[in-house]
Amino acid sequence: MHAGRIAALGSVAELKQVFRGRAVVEVRTASPMAALRALDDLPTVEKTSPFGTALHVWLKPGVRDTEPLRRRLQDLGLAAESFEFVQPSLRRRVHGRRGARGGGRCMRKALAVGRKEFWQIVRDRRTLMILLFVPAFFLMLYGYALNWDIRHVRLAVADREHTAESRELLSSFANSTYFDIVASPASMEEIERLMDRGRIRVALVIPEGMTRDLRSGRHRDRAGRHQRRQREHGHRHLRVRPGHRARRVGVAAAATGRLAGGGAAHLGAAAHLVQPELQSTLFLVPGLIAFIVMISSVVSTSLSIVREKERGTWEQVRMSPISTPAYVVGKTIPYFFISLISALLIIAASMLLFDCRCGDRGSCCSPPFPCSSSAPSARGCWCRPWSTPRPWRSSSGS
């Protein structure tokens, strides 16, 4: 095809037959470009094309006479050094018809840039180390230094039930590392006062009749209402006023409560079906991979172009007939593969250091990590529920 139209159609053998009758004359002259223009409009010439320092002239079918060419050049004062019939390969013929703007040629140029960039990176050990291992180092740094897990929240409990179930619920709060029980207020007024003074951040009130409600199944209605609210608001239902102080404490902090008896018995619902341990470090991993692919593919490519400018090699590249997209694509190819290797190293490091599971439900590293360049932020955005949320069930109700 040429310029959107079929230039020749058929098998290799057929195409050779098509071109068999055409004579191609290689003309050597001191000024090939001027000769090209002079011969192009001759009636016996089908087309002309530069060939190195010479010129290839395609004569029309059946024409073998080179005298008109010679005369035209003599008239213009362009003495030809030689006229010689040549048999270019089919490849050359097709390329000759296709012109210099073939997509294959563009791809070849991009691959040449990619190969060059690969050789350079491999030989520049320092850059290679930075690209491969610094991301894993960042994971360690962030994993150990950055942590937004909530722990040791000052909690007040008001147990108005005083049953085995309520005490079991309270002990589950006391035994967790998330809460420190610091007060046992007798009334709501006292809770308000403690909260206003900043002594407590959360209060848990176990109302009278909770055990009865659990056993009769009435809590399910409340749990259902709570889940609906949760889906609407997208977060745990815990009303707070500015300053992170709980205003209403009716169902507060029920997420971690479990009752004895083997079954799960909860007052509320939590939708953390991915990574239920809620380790913030593990949420870093997918975001970090996205960040690294971004750094490797985009920033490293940009920096390598800047380095070329500093070293003076850029000028020679600019002088070559390569398009900007082909050059950028060629530059990006090796960095893309390096970023994949780097992502694998991060996953391995996170599995080794932080017990990050990969591939199963609740994993922090989902398989499509190569697509991480499109991940918008480091918020664990690949972590999606792999099943529908289930309400907590009472052991007695089941």
Partner: protein, 205 residues
């Protein structure tokens, strides 16, 4: 028709006038030397002729192509060797040749043929696997020259090709220049005044 035609070519950088209404012709087969002191505007003129810089005013044609209108067309037809060493030091001699061959869109067979020619012309046969950074200045320049003529351009621009060589120019560099320029090409080159002798040794005008 001359290979290079320059008419009233002017280039300004802000208030600074780098090239002021330059006019000249370079005939086919001519080796044209460009002499002048530092900052005289030689490199700027060459960069405009190569399509790297846009002229402020005036016109120039290289190989019959208007530089202002079709700089990419000019690039396809010329060879250019920068005054700075512009090859990749972390690549071997062979890899540099392969890379620039690919950049000019040559196919593998053509690259192989031209590689042999360049290695022989530059006297680097047997040193194909040597890293370019390990080559001496003169050898580097010869390799750069070889890479500039890989695609067999009809017009060759050399911007201080011996600028990074020691004061006594190695004869092979000049020989390589002559060999490259003498193969039916039109050459435009310049050298700084202290190296006038080198330019005169090559240029025919």
């Amino acid at each position: 028709m001359p290979a290079v035609t320059v008419r009233e070519l002017t280039r300004r950088f802000g208030a600074f006038l780098a090239v002021d209404r330059v006019s000249f012709d370079v005939e086919n087969g001519e080796i044209f030397g460009f002499l002048g002191s530092n900052g005289a505007g030689k490199s700027t003129t060459i960069r405009m002729l190569c399509g790297l810089l846009k002229p402020t005013s005036g016109s120039a044609t290289v190989g019959g192509i208007d530089v202002g209108r079709d700089p990419e067309g000019v690039k396809r037809r010329i060879g250019y060797m920068s005054q700075r060493f512009s090859l990749y030091e972390l690549l071997t001699v062979e890899e540099n040749i392969t890379f620039f061959g690919g950049l000019y869109g040559l196919d593998n067979g053509r690259i192989a043929a031209r590689r042999d020619f360049v290695l022989e012309m530059a006297g680097l046969t047997g040193r194909e696997k040597t890293l370019t950074r390990d080559l001496a200045g003169g050898w580097r320049q010869r390799l750069a020259l070889g890479c500039a003529i890989l695609h067999e351009p009809s017009i060759l621009f050399l911007d201080e090709p011996t600028g990074r060589c020691r004061p006594r120019v190695p004869p092979p560099v000049l020989a390589a220049d002559r060999q490259a320029l003498g193969a039916g090409r039109d050459g435009v080159r310049h050298d700084a005044l202290p190296r006038r002798g080198r330019a005169l040794a090559i240029a025919s005008r």
